[in-house]
Symmetry: C2
Subunit: 147 residues, 2 copies
DNA sequence: CTAAACCCTAGACCATACTCTATGGCAAGT
DNA sequence: ACTTGCCATAGAGTATGGTCTAGGGTTTAG
């Protein structure tokens, strides 16, 4: 049993365009063609496509995915390089996740401020201070006159 | 005390280019100009730039940051809209973080496979199976003959 | 045998977020 | 005054990751 590009698009939630784009970028060296030149995806191909999606969805760049897929094509001898690539990626993702977590905590702080009963006063004070800071430095006040 | 664009670039680790780009995109409506038309950043501006960085680094799009900054300019009356914007963003980020976590677990699974003592055998078997699947479907074998 | 519904490629186009170049004004030291 | 080093804008260029169109072959149901 093989699948057409349309069937694979439905299964993977990638568009046909994206699948062809990935193929053009060398991300699908494992996909064979039938006698008419049509891509024929096997179940094994779908597994590799799933791996591809995991890498893509964790932010791996196309050039790195291409490299990984090239290593997969080479068979078991490339396992050490695959490990190196995946471990580097895993680390980059974890670093990124922690950075996002930290930044999101600042967003949470803002949300708590806005939720507070004194939010209007505090925000108003902040604005008044910013306004005065501009004026104290001889700068035009960029804030609109509140009506 | 005010800061030039160069000093702000050093403090924020954003490039001068990026700062000017953000201004052009309407992300810095709070920054005033001096008599020469030079941007003069105040300490209050730096706080807003910090907020901007938090939003950017959690993946908020420029158009949404612009909207948030426009709300900030309007003063305390826009607090409800700010909450709505930040909460929507916070949710999107959390969803994204969980998706990444799930996908990273699949990467971890691969890494454990490659770490296992039977890695070579298992990967070799996988490749042999994929190869047979192609042949069984009358397709060319895309894998290189291993030497 | 023909029409509908697929498939293909090449290459143009788009969105996003910068990054840089060209050109010129301003400011401070010598 | 002049050189150095900032500042400004407009607009071109780059990188990334798609998305779509044009032109053409294939397959399948009627």
């Amino acid at each position: 049993m093989t699948y057409t590009i349309k069937q694979v698009a439905e299964k993977t939630h990638l568009s046909i365009y994206t699948l062809r784009f990935y193929d053009k970028q060398g991300l699908l060296p494992f996909v064979s063609r039938d006698r008419s030149g049509y891509r024929a995806f096997t179940d094994g191909d779908l597994l590799l496509l799933h791996t591809l999606s995991c890498l893509k969805d964790t932010g791996m760049k196309i050039s790195d995915i291409r490299q990984y897929m090239a290593l997969v094509m080479q068979g078991p001898s490339s396992i050490p390089q695959r490990q190196q690539l995946l471990r580097a990626h895993r680390n980059a993702v974890l670093v990124q996740q922690h950075a996002i977590e930290r930044n999101l905590q600042e967003v949470d702080r803002k949300l708590r401020l806005y939720d507070s009963p004194m939010a209007t006063d505090l925000v108003g004070l902040e604005l008044a201070t910013a306004r005065e800071e501009k004026i104290a430095n001889g700068l035009p006040d960029p804030f609109p006159k509140h009506i």
